[in-house]
Symmetry: C2
Subunit: 397 residues, 2 copies
């Protein structure tokens, strides 16, 4: 047979696939993988926090005691003991979450994709914070929503703005704790107001909470989920408190939605790896996280403080930044005339990198913003990198 | 705050989610998990074939030598050494497959979902075999295609039928080796004709090949991929030759499509677990599969022979079945007046289960068909179960 005589296939991608783009930023940031670059661009947790030996022991235990079960196909909704653990862990502040409300997923990003698949039609109104998590905008975009940006201030999302824009929205997507990208936290009062507004408007409220446990001091704030389990969809992840490379998270939602998500999950990838779920259950069931998470909090709090001090020292007047109470990110607002994308190009020449803020906006990008992560860079390099950025910014004033 | 006063959310699912249904068959088959049932319904590989100790050693090695890297986020296209291994393993029959053509996915089912996402619009024509793999129909259905069933005979798909129906199709989906559900194999002549037809019509041809290595005798037949790497999308999986519970497969396609799939993969779940990929690379890189796969072939060939003999002995005249040369399934065609769904209800009373054939048809289901799997049932139980089914069928003649 000779197929050479035929023209190569002209790929006709679906309209949704045409919305997927190679990001210019991603291309630029590829160079930031070079070891000589001081990169504040990462969204990665610090590998210093990975409990390698603990995970290794858990793999050894599961594979030696339950090898064949762990390597076989499993149920689409997830490994039952782990779903029970998630439900029981989330049953705080008087709320009772049951295992039937829990769907295990292959990392939070998959939760976003499944929620988009099940809740968003072409043209559906979807409410997001200003700015919002880039990965969520990407996951939802595929399904063709009309994004409506909910106004925010330094305290995060403004619940009172929902009355004007919330009607008929398919969902509201929020990160109440140490938001990616801004590091902002929503106050308890605003949480109540937000939950109340969404319940009144009949809008499903997604609480994406990968960083909630990483508060630098005090206890985590109450979850939106527990304020109204009938109307809130909670997303959690083991990526930031255990390790991300295993890809494990969960969606907790009212049962009618969970059953629909389970059907979508089955059509999407059958189920999340059974071995991974059994190992994580083994790793967390005896309270390991309650000893482990404080060590992550301490490290990130210290690194954050180093960066805040360096910003104070090296950044000129007219630049503003957030002061996170947890999580992994600081958000910087430059004077309006400075485009952070252009600044990035210059910064890379100086061997420093960050993520420009524009792609985090669903609408009307503010080009004078940028995101800094401090968790994977040493204190010394944090100071050196911030000093270099400060110098570049000063030159533009 | 009191949200009790608000009505519970009226879930408005997307139109695509409304197409997802809880299958009546799945509900019935739930009872087949009971240990007293002789189940020919499974699509699971035999856990007897899982190389538990080999996997355990691979986990131990990766976690002890590369713990932090394996537990960190990884690239969306997959772990580079494993992509190289896949490319090199598939470069046979004179074809040269490069790692840039390989995307690692979380099991073949995810490959199907990503291909549907990227290639299918509402109303797109999608060609499938008659019957076809149920999981593919489910994965594609979400994206709203118009399925066109390609005629088949006992030798599988009829390539000459494409001229009449293939024009403007977005893709053709085929399982050339030991097809699920029929166990049929496409001859070398038909493979060439199929590849040639698709190339001529400009229709991307998906070769789903989870069972290809499981031939009972001789060598595997040549892959469609290697007949025309420019026009064929090949899907492979570690589920049937290593273990399914880790969820690992791959899509091999022309580069423009792989880059688009990679973007979709990133928006869908960022990447497939880094640890899993590193461990599988460790497990296969030194040729383990070439010793291991023959043991699976031998087991399945023996079990298949037991079932074929039992069918010969216990099934009445007027019933036909396939005689697979590999894989996990036998397809049975009953006399036209017998509905296999009703037969299943009676069979479950007798503690035997199988999968009725109707859901495997995209159009015009043949209700007198059913699928039998022989790989997880002991020879004695195979004979007992087939005898019981034979009795039930005879009573209907």
């Amino acid at each position: 047979m000779n197929t050479d005589k035929h023209a190569p296939i002209q790929w006709q991608f679906s309209r949704r696939a045409q919305k997927l783009e190679s990001s210019a930023i991603r291309e630029i940031l590829k160079v930031t993988m070079r070891p000589e670059i001081i990169s504040f661009a990462g969204g990665l947790p610090s590998p210093e926090t990975f409990p390698v030996d603990h995970m290794r022991a858990a793999y050894e235990k599961v594979l030696s005691k339950q090898g064949k079960v762990s390597l076989q196909y499993g149920p689409s909704d997830g490994y039952a003991p782990l779903r029970e653990w998630v439900a029981s862990t989330l049953s705080t502040d008087g709320a009772c979450i049951v295992p039937e409300q829990v769907l295990m997923v292959s990392g939070s990003q998959q939760g976003l994709d499944l929620l988009g698949k099940v809740l968003i039609d072409e043209g559906s109104k979807v409410l997001v914070e200003t700015p919002s998590y880039l990965g969520a905008l990407q996951a939802f975009s595929v399904y063709g929503p009309q994004f409506e940006s909910v106004p925010t201030d330094d305290g995060g999302l403004l619940p009172e703005s929902l009355d004007a824009i919330g009607k008929d929205a398919r969902l509201l997507y929020a990160l109440p704790n140490f938001q990616n990208p801004t590091g902002r936290t929503l106050s308890v009062e605003r949480r109540h107001a937000l939950v109340e507004s969404c319940a009144r408007l009949g809008v499903p409220l997604i609480e994406d909470d990968p960083y909630g446990a990483l508060c630098y001091r005090g206890d985590p704030l109450p979850k939106l989920l527990n304020m109204n389990p009938e109307g809130v969809i909670h997303m959690g992840s083991f990526s930031k408190v255990l390790t991300p490379g295993i890809r494990l998270g969960y969606v907790v939602a009212p049962e009618p939605l969970v059953r629909k998500l389970e059907q979508a999950k089955q059509a999407t990838d059958l189920h999340t790896a059974q071995l991974t779920q059994m190992v994580v259950y083994e790793a967390v069931k005896d309270g390991f996280l309650s000893q482990h998470i404080p060590t992550i909090r301490k490290l990130y709090a210290d690194q954050c403080q180093v960066m805040l001090s360096a910003l104070e020292q090296y950044f000129p007047e007219g630049v503003r930044w957030t002061r996170p109470e947890g999580g992994m990110f600081i958000w910087v607002t430059l004077p309006e005339h400075i485009d952070s994308m252009k600044l990035l190009e210059e910064a890379i020449e100086e061997l420093v990198a960050f993520v420009p803020g524009a792609p985090f906006y669903a609408n009307a990008p503010q080009k004078n913003t940028l995101r800094l992560s401090f968790v994977t860079v040493s204190p010394e390099k944090i100071r050196e990198g911030v000093a270099k950025l400060g110098k570049l910014i000063k030159a533009k004033l």
